[in-house]
Amino acid sequence: MARNKDAMVLLIDVSPSMHKALPEIEKVCSMLAEKKLIYSKYDEVAVVLFGTEEAENELTREVGGYEHVVVLQNIKVVDGQLVETLQQLPRGTRDGDFLDAIIVGMDMLIKKYGETYKGKKRLCLLTNAQFPIKYPLEGTKEDQVSTIAEHMNTHGMRMESIVVRGSLTGEANKSVMDENDNLLGIFSKKTCAKLVHVESPTSLLGALRTRKISPVTIFRGDLELSPKMKIKVWVYKKTSEEKFPTLKKYSDKAPPTDKFATHEVKVDFEYKSVEDPSKVVPPDQRIKGYRYGPQVIPISSAEWDAVKFKPEKSVKLLGFSDAKNIMRHYYMKDVNVFIPEPGNTRAILAVSALARAMQDMNKVAILRCVWRQGQANVVVGVLTPNVSDNDNIPDSFYFNVLPFAEDVREFQFPSFNNFPASWQPTEQQQEAADDFVRMFDLAPSGKEEALPPGLTPNPVLERFYRHLELKSRHPDAAVPPLDETLRMITEPDKELLSQNRSVLDVFRSRFEVKENPKLKKSSRRFLQDKPSGSNEGHANISDEPNSSEYASAVKVEKVGDATPVQDFEAMINRRDSPQWVGKAIKDMKNKIHDLVEDSYEGDNYPKALECLIALRKGCILEQEPKQFNDFLRTLCIFCQEKALSSFCEFLASKELSLISKTEAVDSEVTDDEARNFLCQIRAKDGMSA
């Protein structure tokens, strides 16, 4: 199938200024080769490097010149060796001339295939275009580029240029870069060439189409404005999910000696009666049924065909509407694109006029579509204008499927205004949120938009193909961890975080989140135990920025000697089991008791007091006033008995008393009683003295 066999020449700039970007280029190019090995094994690939010290290409042998261009790999069918070659590209030492490389690449394609070859011929240029190309012998650089571009056209080649800029390359001469951009721009104007600028490693990974998908129209025919006016259009898919490859089930039943074993697993379906599972029902005794309430209505497919809904193939306009009537979240599926019939200037004009008018007036069109004859349903969708900013590309429309009345789930949710005041952000909080939203900008002006969908690769697929390649060499290889570049897709940008540290800290300090104490049994921990620094991971469904203060790094299990207060606080705050509160209080009581008992001339009193204050606070928070009050009473009695009444005095002087009703509702002690308790102690002291 020569028509489906593509040829591709990768032109890679390996000059010193590109070295920073080369690891990503190695990844994306080897990914391309890996996917070709699976999906189009007969494609042919060549690799040309430029910016190298030496020169190794046919042109330099034949006519001279073309220095610093090396053909690393001649055109040949993809194989495992190519993947390995691409994973370890040699680094160059010279500045590269991309035009030389393009000519070498074209020359290779022409020599190999001639003009009759039916398959697609592609050149793929990866460079930073930072260095000027040589002046031609005659004419200007522009003329030379134009000539080459025309040549490319006559040979039916396509070119894709990915220009690496920004943080990935060093400083460079701006005027040279502009000149080069201009030159590369000529290619995209004159030929079917694409030019992409990338600034981050992530978008470099996403910039190259690693898998070829031959586009198929889902509809060709008339877009009916009315029965009197029709526009010829072709409809393609604009987005379509590239699925994770479906792996086959593996059977190890075949003997290891069997060289031809497929190891495949077949699936066999058997239809059995519910009442008599031993009996298999043959196909002619089966009929489909639909549920209608508790009943099942049998209906044969022939009957069904006779009565079912059969719309005619057509795409009809229902009318125009204000864009604001169609809310973005109603879009149901992947997106289609309506392009005017290629070569039909009238259709192109008509689409262009409508698209421009719709854009100016902020309108959208509502369509009713039946793509194919015999399709059993209709699709209602919205057409939005896509006015092209490239002169080479005609204007088109995007088409999104809209839901039918049955598809919309109308759930009522409470209005935010009806929430209690404690849930409403204060002015300060709102200000912090505003700053947060403003500063965490992924599309700052003057810089490349971070993570644009068009340049962001799917990390799952990246990881799968890398693992596949690893496994082909070492069958037991583990799943590779996410590298820095892919991490940029799944986690917040560290640089952006550190730049906005202060905004973030303010945001965090103004809002308080804590786990609901009523939900003690929750098996999930919402505030994650994570080392601080990466705590912007908005932890859960409702976007909590998680505060590390709540994360207890080490789980405290007893109140120790060194830091009894801290241990106690950590323990009483543990939420993994309700028993911790009780245990913490008990441990603390023992601790205080020991401290008082072991004190020599009151040396432990301050520490004991600290512990008592902590215990008091904990008991108020946990609504356990009785525990504390009983303990304090016993402690005082104990002190008096053991002639340690100086401690009671010490307490009284520090005004530590029972927990009163005003502090904790459950307490049985009134305010007066609490105050009197102190007096009592003093009085008793007096008595014993």
Binding site: P245, S273, G319, D334, N377, Y398, N458, L519, I541
Partner: protein, 582 residues
């Protein structure tokens, strides 16, 4: 929904007053409105939530039928069904036709009259509550829907008896509400006076102040549009997913009407042995099969434990029309697990709305981890109802692999494609103005395929003779399109982009393009007709000699007569015979 039905319950009042039966409007009596509303919602319910259970009682009736043997209450039911049970085809059929037999079988008689101590409203609430005892309050959502056109049920009595009756009725309501039963009122206004909720029912429903103002007494009038019976209302992540009608396809059934279950078994392709739960998968790569364990595959897809991780914010215009893959998901805050969440959510929500930005987040679901856009949605309220709840819409963004550059596909010719000039754009704008769908809403079209499917199903289930015609609401408005203003705008636009001789040239283009294939086809069929003329088909058929001909020869006849050419020789012969009428 399998095990916890929401118990729907519906009370229907029928009044003795003639006005309810005769009504003010031409054909619709209030009773008719109520009954058709019930029938309509039963039909929706049996399809959407067929596990929901329902009972229908009439009150203020002459006859009585209920377990408590109370006067003036009639629980409507059909065979093979408990009072409160899943709706059946038969129930729908009978409720649809109840109007004819209602007076003779059930009869209507206003129960609350002075002199008797009967309180039919009290009775019916009691019956309802008893019926709804089934099922726990936690798993089921219990509702009583009350249809009535009497805003003052105790109007005819006076004094102590009245206050006493009102008190006991309200108490009964409160008891029911304590048991987790919500009571909703669908009032039907009389022609001369609007239904005054505050006379009695506001107390019954517990409406106060502002709520009362919002309560629209017209609820019952648009009965057919009123859809009763959506299930959960308190979920936090909800999809607006396509309702696929094939989910109703349960399984194959026997001719003798027995359900069939499907059994799946895995067989090794090499040995034919049965494979039990194979844990390995493989992918052919290079020259060998690379094996993966299920755990490894899961590991590849695993990125983070957090569900949704915020990465930053972008201006709304970065979200392009084609950044879409799937129906969106709605995000609403909850304080159930983390106190303070709602506050942060609201603050971010407001900031995003004000600064016109959306959030980009990584959604680490196990099936497809992907980037999502969180677009803040402000609450939209119109005519007393919530059109859009406040919250965020999670829009699933495509990756670069998922986006295709189809626009650029056909570039490459040296001639740049034309773009419309200002005049043409102006003409197009004029056309757009003429053809504006005002107040278009995505809710306005019912899916014709789905409607047809259910209509057929319903007709079969209810043994109706005719399948009702379903109006396809999605066809263009032909009438509107023939308006002169529109036609002239269209003509002008057509003139400006297509030029004068469009029709003729269009035909010419059509012929030119069709030439290749159609010429060929034409030649073939002409040839076939000629060849076919060489045979005496009737004679061949009569003598059974058709089978002596070759397939090619047989096909001459089929082509000449525009018959399908597919199938084996026997099929061709039988097709020829059928065509000849033999």
């Amino acid at each position: 929904m399998e095990i916890d039905p929401d118990d729907l319950f519906r009370d229907d009042e029928d009044d003795p007053d003639n006005e309810l039966f005769q009504g003010d409007r031409k054909d619709d009596t209030h009773f008719h409105v109520a009954v058709s509303c019930i029938a309509q919602s039963l039909k929706t319910q049996i399809i959407n939530n067929s596990y929901d259970e329902v009972a229908i009682c009439f009150f203020n009736t002459r006859e009585k039928r209920n377990l408590q043997d109370l006067n003036g209450v009639y629980v409507f039911n059909v065979a093979d069904r408990e009072y409160l049970d899943r709706p059946t085809a038969r129930l729908i059929k009978e409720i649809d036709n109840i109007e004819e037999s209602f007076m003779s079988k059930i009869g209507s008689q206003y129960g609350i009259v002075s002199g008797s101590r009967e309180n039919s409203l009290y009775n019916v609430l009691w019956v309802a509550q008893a019926l709804l005892r089934k099922g726990s309050a936690k798993t089921a959502d219990k509702r009583v829907l009350l249809f009535t056109n009497e805003d003052d049920p105790f109007g005819s009595i006076k004094g102590v008896i009245k206050t006493d009756m009102m008190r006991t009725t309200l108490q009964r309501t409160r008891d029911a509400q304590d048991l987790g039963i919500s009571i909703e009122l669908l009032p039907l206004s009389r022609p001369d006076s609007d239904f005054n909720v505050s006379t009695f029912y506001s107390d019954l429903l517990g409406l106060k102040g502002d709520d009362l103002a919002l309560f629209m007494p017209a609820a019952g009038e648009k009965s057919t549009a009123y859809n009763i019976g959506t299930g959960e209302t308190s979920c936090f992540l909800t999809d607006s997913t396509l309702l696929k009608y094939f989910n109703l396809l349960i399984s194959h059934i026997f001719r003798s009407m027995l359900l069939i279950k499907t059994e799946r078994s895995f067989i090794c392709a090499d040995t034919g042995a049965l494979v039990q739960g194979s844990a390995k998968r493989f992918q052919p790569y290079k020259t060998e099969n690379i094996k993966f364990s299920v755990e490894e595959l899961l590991e590849i897809k695993r990125f983070s434990t957090g569900h949704l991780r915020l990465l930053g914010f972008k201006p709304l215009n970065c979200l392009k029309e084609f950044h879409n893959l799937r129906p969106s998901t709605f995000v609403f805050p909850t304080d159930e697990e983390l106190i303070g969440s709602t506050c942060i959510f609201i603050a971010l929500h407001r900031s995003m709305l004000r600064l016109k930005r959306f959030a980009v987040a990584f959604y680490g679901s196990s099936s497809r981890p992907q980037l999502v856009a969180l677009v803040a949605q402000d609450e939209i309220i119109s005519a007393g109802g919530q059109v859009e709840p406040p919250g965020m819409h999670m829009i699933y963004l495509p990756y670069s692999e998922d986006i295709r550059n189809t626009e650029e596909l056909h570039t490459g010719s040296n001639v740049a494609p034309p773009h419309a000039n200002d005049d043409q754009t102006r003409k197009a704008a004029a056309l757009i103005k003429r053809f504006d769908l005002k107040d278009f809403s995505v809710f306005q079209f019912a899916n014709p395929a789905l409607q047809r499917h259910y209509a057929v199903l319903q007709a079969l289930a209810l043994e109706e003779d005719e399948i009702p015609e379903i109006k396809d609401e999605t066809v263009p408005d032909e009438e509107g399109m023939s308006r002169p203003a529109f036609v002239s705008a269209l003509e002008e636009f057509k003139q400006s982009v297509y030029g004068d001789n469009y029709e003729e040239e269009n035909d010419a283009v059509g012929n030119g393009k069709a030439s290749e294939t159609s010429k060929k086809r034409k030649a073939v069929s002409e040839n076939a007709v000629k060849e076919s003329g060489n045979y005496d088909w009737v004679d061949l058929a009569d003598n059974g000699k058709l089978k002596d001909l070759t397939v090619t020869q047989l096909k001459y006849y089929l082509t000449a007569n525009n018959l399908p050419l597919a199938g084996k020789k026997e099929a061709l012969i039988s097709r020829i015979l059928t065509h000849m009428g033999k």
